[in-house]
Amino acid sequence: MEGSRTVRAADFTGVERQWHLLDSWRGRIGTPSVTLLCVHGNPTWSYLWRSLVSQAPESIRVIAVDQLDMGYSERTGIDRRLADRVIDLGNLTSELGITGPVITVAHDWGGPVSLGWALAHRHQLAGIILLNTAIHQPPEARAPALIRLARSRPLLTLNTRLTSLFITSTTSLSRVARGSLPRMSKADADAYLAPYDESARRAGVRQFVADIPLEDDHPSAHELTRIAEGIRELGDVPALLMWGPDDPVFSDLYLHDLERRLPHAQVHRYEGARHLVIDDAPELVRDLLEWVAAGPALPDAHVASNEPSTLNDALSARHLDSSAALITMGETGNAHSISWAMLAERVARVAGALEEAGVRRGHRVSVLIPPGPDLICSVYALWRIGACAVIVDRGLGILGMRRAIRGAAPQHVIGSREGLLLARTLRIPGARISMRDLPRLIGDSAPAEMHATKDDEAVVVFTSGATGPAKGVIYRHRQVAETMNLLASHYSLGAQDTLVAAFAPWALLGPGLGISSVIPDMDVTRPATLTASDIAQAVRTGHGTVVWAAPAALRNVVATSGSLSDDDRRACASVRLLLSAGAPVPLSLLEQTAQIFPQASLRTPYGMTEALPVAEADLNAIRAQGMGNGVFVGAALPGVEIAIAPLDDRGVPVDDLTDTREVTGEIAVRASHIREGYDRLWATNARASRNLGWHRTGDVGHLDEAGNLWVEGRLAHVISTAEGPLTSISLEQLAILNGAVNAACVGIGPLGTQQAVLIIEEAGPSHLLNAAESDRFRQACDFPFAAVMRIDRMPVDIRHNSKIDRLHLSAWASEILGGALG
């Protein structure tokens, strides 16, 4: 294996022992800029770090040891304790003459050994990297069941010595959950097992398990506590925690324990990865090396300004106002109304009740309440306290919701009965607060004062997950306030306006904006159920002036507009502004919508979970533009800058941004209202924020001669052909104009030499169109697709019911075109 060598060094008893290690600098002289000292856990060996050794750049030395009695190091026959292993490792690094800066890297039970070494070598310690490990049993966690099982006396010997079950079960703890990835290859699984091929060579595995101190009087308990407490002093040492959250042994609880000890640590959770996170998440090694190459630094100390948050200012200002703040439309057309005064009072009292229940400033609280007044009230109450609302929507699907909330690690869950039931089903952590208990809690507590500052976290919301697992996006109070300011000023929203919020997230903003909101009678999680009468009734009841609806909702409104009465039509004619966002809105749909709202300015803001809105087009501009390469989304809003990171030959965006016209690349935005960052996704965050102050959107597009933005699709969907990168939206639009119900263009094959395949939605006996039909689409799109295929139903996301999962389609096409024997 690359870099494999042996070294002799004295162990803690003074006897010379032979170590096996991987050393990326084997045979080289000179001084590396930094040395990564990698320590495996039990029962793996240095093979764990093979990709790190082979991918490390020239200037970095990677040393991955096999601990004594493990891997291909010497079998000593001595029962080694944690303290002994720390001394052994120190002796080895002295023998190797490692005197320069060192970053420790460790996995599993290598963590305590590695941190023990770190505490003993503070003078040369440049950083700490930990992968799925533990140095302490968090109070809320019992010892992992699998470890307890392995530690139980009768099983211990049988399991680890007589059989290799412990090892095979460890390698099988890899990749099961990441459905899209292959399982660990047999070659890798065999390699992990290789040094432990006979029972005598497995004694160290048994001994290592026996050395886990689950009891206070265990011989290694003292040393483990010393290390666990000692690392609290490492606040000046950069730290990176890389975690596979689906690890049945070291769950997120152990990650959170480490975060409490190393509060400055940067964290990346690899969603779907399990115990052997380095094998499950192939991108981990690249991320780790990027962190090292960037020269590990402490994150910018967050300078809290102590400026009070303004999110509840509008509520406070109108606390004597008896006019309606929230109107909820009921099924029979009757409306339930809450005045500004009532809402302000209720928010203050709920905040007091939540404090009574233990919610504090800085806590995260998962809010599992259906959209409506209770949700709005709870969120403003949390903002009053300075706690952060973790908000998921059903569009993520049950599994997606579970992942999202667990990733955000809330201290509390507020829920309706159904919400708390769901929390239990999903095994979401956090203390439970039931909406039903609120009246009692309110009775026991005083209204809460406003504690929040502009720098407190306000919300964690989630991306739709159309290109991989949903990502948690953090907004601070200042960024939510900036979003509201932009909306208020750009749309001239004032007390005279009433917002008809048929788009769930925006129902939340009304009280902050100081404008009344009407929530139509609809299931906001199913926008396509909103009818024209529903919306007309809401407009009429609340004297609505502004309507915000998802494209799917507009489609149904148009479809049901025949049932509008004359009164309804008159009410709709009083709407001055209609906004639709979330997915591209076809021109034909806008034209039909304009028939229903003749006086309204129709606009389609463009943005994303991380920044909304960014740009905007209105009906007239869209009409004037006609077809082009992509979807016309219009000009940047005031205060928003848009730039492009051009794509290189392989379709990868370059580092530098440009505002050169007609250049396709990743869209970047800069504005005061963009997100703070991603939650526990250090590498994602580093990439999205690589241009200081900018957000890389993951969308591709270009600026036209007039400076308007055109979106050409998602970066992850760019087709990387031998002739250069290809974006698919305009090809798909042409295919649809040519009669396809729905169309998606995807690439198959390796980057740089992909073939483009057009897939249309259509039923048929074969997945291929015949040559004449294929040519019809090739001509209409003016592109020589390698194949034109058909699929019964496009795979789409749940939230918008419109974003086609092109990565899934690409894998599907690739498999079919691979042939039956491929």
């Binding site: 031998a722 740089g752 291929l768 294929s774 390698a786």
Partner: protein, 333 residues
């Protein structure tokens, strides 16, 4: 002065086309094959493994394009070995002895095709141990022999054109059309597999380009194709339409076709069966290739698109041109 190009196997479609392209740019050409080439050039008729015939053919030659091979789905293993391995070996030795400086060895992508789908790979090393069938195994061995001979004084490049076709091609087009005419053409697994093909003129121009860049690329192998992969179903449909035959509509699962192929190989013995397991694998496994490296290293791009190729194929059937008249051998001094 040595300035002639020797083309072996010039009675085949590829050899013949290469000679025509060389002639059209004013090269002096010698051809060597067993039968009559019908080309207006210096001709040596003989066996590729015959040293005497070889030394005659190499007179005045400084460059070689080696097209001669036994191409067949089945047959006696010894015959494949004698022509493809021993023949190449003899030609290499004779060419080196005659101060040839550039040698283009015509190979096949099947030398590295191990039966798995290939999506956009480059040229992988030839693997005689694992290539499928007599033809591919012996061609793999020959390619390794040829490339091992390469050095700066005797530069060898291997070109692997992928599925060469065009008007007058009896190997592929002829068989497909004959089967379609007999109503015995069917698809395997709906013809889903995406495969590369090479129009004959492009294959020939790639060989000429390889000859011109031989020194710079010596010791290397390249897969070349039109760079326009299409599904088997679409290729068969276009070929049938060009020949004014009905395209296949029936589809057989690959597993059944594979079994039928194995049976046919046993029944037909060493004569050519209508279906072999190798053919089934080829028709139900994707194989298309990364063309960037080949195009930039050979300074070559295919001049005839797939579309133009099919139009020319249709012309060749539509106008019912008789096979080209046999030209006489013209002695060249």
């Amino acid at each position: 002065m040595n300035d002639r190009v020797l083309v072996t196997g010039a009675s085949g479609l590829l050899g013949r086309t290469v000679v025509q392209q060389l002639l059209s740019r004013g090269e002096r050409v010698t051809v060597m094959q067993r039968g009559e080439s019908g080309l207006p050039v210096l001709q040596v008729r003989g066996d590729i493994a015959d040293p005497e015939a070889l030394s005659l053919a190499l007179e005045g030659v400084d460059r070689v394009i080696h097209c001669a091979a036994k191409v067949s789905l089945n047959g006696p293993p010894a015959e494949f070995r004698r022509i493809n391995v021993d023949g190449t070996s003899a030609l290499l030795a004779a060419a080196r002895a005659c101060d040839v400086h550039s040698f283009v060895h015509v190979s096949t992508p099947s030398v590295a095709h191990l039966g798995r789908a290939i999506h956009g790979d480059g040229a992988q090393p030839a693997d005689p141990g694992r290539a499928r069938g007599q033809y591919a195994r012996t061609k793999a061995e020959a390619e390794l022999l040829a490339l091992a001979e390469s050095d700066s004084a005797f530069a060898v490049v291997a070109i692997r054109p992928h599925l060469v076709w065009g008007p007058g091609d009896e190997q592929l087009i002829g068989r497909i059309v004959a089967r379609a005419r007999a109503g015995r053409l069917f698809l395997i697994d709906h013809g889903y597999a995406l495969i590369d093909t090479t129009y004959i003129d492009n294959a020939a121009s790639a060989l000429v380009a390889a000859l011109d860049t031989c020194q710079a690329n010596q010791g290397r192998a390249f897969v070349i194709s039109n760079g326009e992969p299409r599904t088997v179903a679409e290729l068969l449909e276009r070929i049938c339409r060009a020949a004014q035959e009905q395209p296949p509509t029936r589809s057989v699962p690959a597993s059944i076709a594979l079994r039928a192929g194995r049976v046919a190989e046993r029944l037909w013995g060493e004569s050519e069966p209508p279906l072999t397991s190798f053919l089934v694998e080829q028709l139900s496994t994707a194989h298309w290739f990364d063309q960037r490296e080949a195009r930039s290293s050979l300074c070559w791009t295919p001049a005839v698109s797939l579309e133009e190729g099919f139009a020319r194929l249709a012309d060749s059937y539509g106008t019912r041109v008789d096979p080209p008249s046999t030209a006489t051998s013209v002695p060249v001094t």
